[in-house]
């Protein structure tokens, strides 16, 4: 598995936290504002409400983008300690810079980095993996756009770091039960690289901050 993973934090000055996450050719820029003021309609009395907006590069956002937003929001609803900030909103804005496949995992990982940069309290980090089953039955991790379009099935999974449990799961395309289970196993073993990246980046960020405050 030879994947190019790169992330830069704190590029957006106005946002509380931001990240530019690159996975092979796909890249997204994520900005996080929060906890901040919430509209009365979306206010939750015991928790912060997570508002995710995804902006595609071309065209206006439609139902497909809404599904992606819902998946991201569901995933982080379970991980962010929203009980600490009731009656507030945590706004997450994802801007697509380039979509060359594996967009879902790029978004989840990018959002997690941005939340860490914004110091939003979380239970654990999330690592998302996209895999496809191609026409020959082979499982390919982090596919390109072309591979996603010609694949029999596409599977997006996000794992949390504490117990390795599945936080987000969406698959589309015909799969047998055993193939599905194989995909989950392969995805689980691939996410260790992303968890490693979180540690490296956080270490860099903390040493950089300590240095600049001296």
């Amino acid at each position: 598995m030879d994947q190019l993973l790169d992330v830069q934090l704190g590029l957006l000055r106005q946002a509380d936290g931001s990240s530019l996450f690159k996975l092979n050719s796909t890249s997204v820029m994520v900005g996080v504002y929060g906890p901040t003021e919430v509209k009365p309609a979306k206010e939750l009395s015991d928790r912060a409400s997570l508002e995710v907006t995804y902006k595609p590069k071309v065209k206006q956002a439609g139902c497909r983008e809404k599904l992606l937003e819902k998946n991201v929001q569901s995933a982080f609803d379970g991980v962010v300690l929203t009980e600490l900030h009731p009656r507030t909103a945590i706004q997450i804005i994802i801007q697509e810079l380039q979509d060359s496949g594996s967009l879902f995992s790029c978004c989840i990982n990018g959002v997690c980095f941005a939340l860490l940069d914004a110091c939003v309290p979380m239970r654990s980090t999330l690592a998302a993996v996209t895999c496809v089953v191609d026409s020959e039955g082979e499982i390919i991790i982090f596919p390109t756009k072309r591979q996603e379009e010609t694949a029999l099935a596409v599977l997006n999974v996000a794992f949390e770091s504490k117990e390795g449990a599945v936080i987000s799961l969406s698959s589309s395309g015909v799969l047998t039960k055993s193939k599905f289970q194989d995909c989950i196993t392969v995805c689980k073993s691939s996410c260790s690289k992303i968890f490693e990246l979180y540690r490296i980046k956080m270490r860099q960020l903390c040493t950089k901050n300590a240095g600049s405050e001296c």
Binding site: L67, G78, E163, V166, F180
Partner: protein
């Protein structure tokens, strides 16, 4: 004595809804008396809307969804000249529940619409190539409108059932290219049933507080579930047999974490429930043809 208990339980249900659900689920039953793995009674009616080209009405307990399909002709999309297209739209009017407000489609409606499109395309229920009339010039467009008339939880299962049944009811007028003039002619008097290659069936399971897994949640249970998993089986039709081993869409919503045994349980719930729903759709279709 039972009247007093009834008043207390009603009060408890309103003031402490989560605790109310918890008491039942921890004892292994549901608040409406069902077991954890029991589904509500489902009823399907085919063809209730005579002005539509295909329609079905589904009642899953108190959740009622009507699906109407209208056919139109249109030029195909430029990048896919040999394909028609399907446009599902889920409408959640304020009529159905106090949770829905008037105005533009809510997030739940948009997400459900997108999921319906994925289910129809990924299960290969209708192949878009079957909707082509003349390559690059004209194709059929199926506008599928799913309207929820009453919302009591488990929207996806009801919508999938309604959409599958309505698609089985659609008849395409015969369309052909006149060899002499090259013009496209459509004969509305000769109708051919749409070629349905598979019948997707959705099964939704929810988990309460990490441990209790139950199927077919009602509205009250959905609000307090930590996560919900919908498994859709594709059920390809080949000859007279239906192959119900394959899953075509899995969608998890909600922030709770799910372990692999629970995912397996959800998949097996889906596979066990599928033959029942398929026979329900089959018998509804045979009744409508009589």
């Amino acid at each position: 004595m039972s009247e007093v208990a009834n008043i207390y339980s009603c009060g408890f249900r309103i003031t402490q809804p989560r605790e109310y659900q918890k008491k039942f689920l921890e004892a292994g039953v549901r608040s409406d008396g069902r077991k954890l793995d029991e589904f509500r009674e489902a009823l399907i009616g085919i063809g209730p809307v005579s002005t539509a080209d295909g329609s079905a009405l589904v009642a899953l307990g108190e959740t009622k969804v009507i699906c109407g399909i209208k056919l139109e002709v249109a030029p195909p999309k430029v990048d896919k000249p040999r394909c028609g297209y399907i446009v599902p739209n889920v409408d959640l009017p304020p009529l159905a529940s106090s949770d829905f407000r008037p105005g533009p489609p809510s997030e739940l409606a948009q997400v459900s619409s997108q999921l319906m499109l994925e289910i129809v395309l990924k299960s290969k229920c209708v192949l878009l190539e079957d909707l082509c009339i003349a390559e690059g010039r004209m194709c059929w467009v199926l506008y599928c409108d799913l309207i929820c008339l009453n919302y009591d939880g488990n929207l996806l299962d009801a919508c999938t059932m309604a959409l599958t049944a309505a698609l089985c009811n659609v008849k395409l007028p015969k369309a052909f290219v006149n060899e002499e003039t090259g013009a496209i002619e459509i004969d509305f008097k000769q109708k051919v049933p749409l070629n349905i290659r598979s019948r997707p069936v959705a099964t939704t399971s929810s988990v309460f507080e990490k441990e209790t897994l139950y199927v077919d949640p009602v509205r009250e249970e959905e609000k307090h579930a930590s996560l919900t998993v919908t498994v859709v089986t594709s059920n390809e039709i080949s000859g007279s047999t239906v192959d119900s081993d394959n899953i075509c869409v899995i969608h998890k919503t909600g922030g709770g974490s799910v372990n692999e045994e629970q995912i397996e349980q959800c998949i097996s719930n889906g596979r066990c429930h599928t033959p029942f729903v398929l026979s329900l759709i089959g018998s509804a279709l045979t009744k409508s043809e009589v």
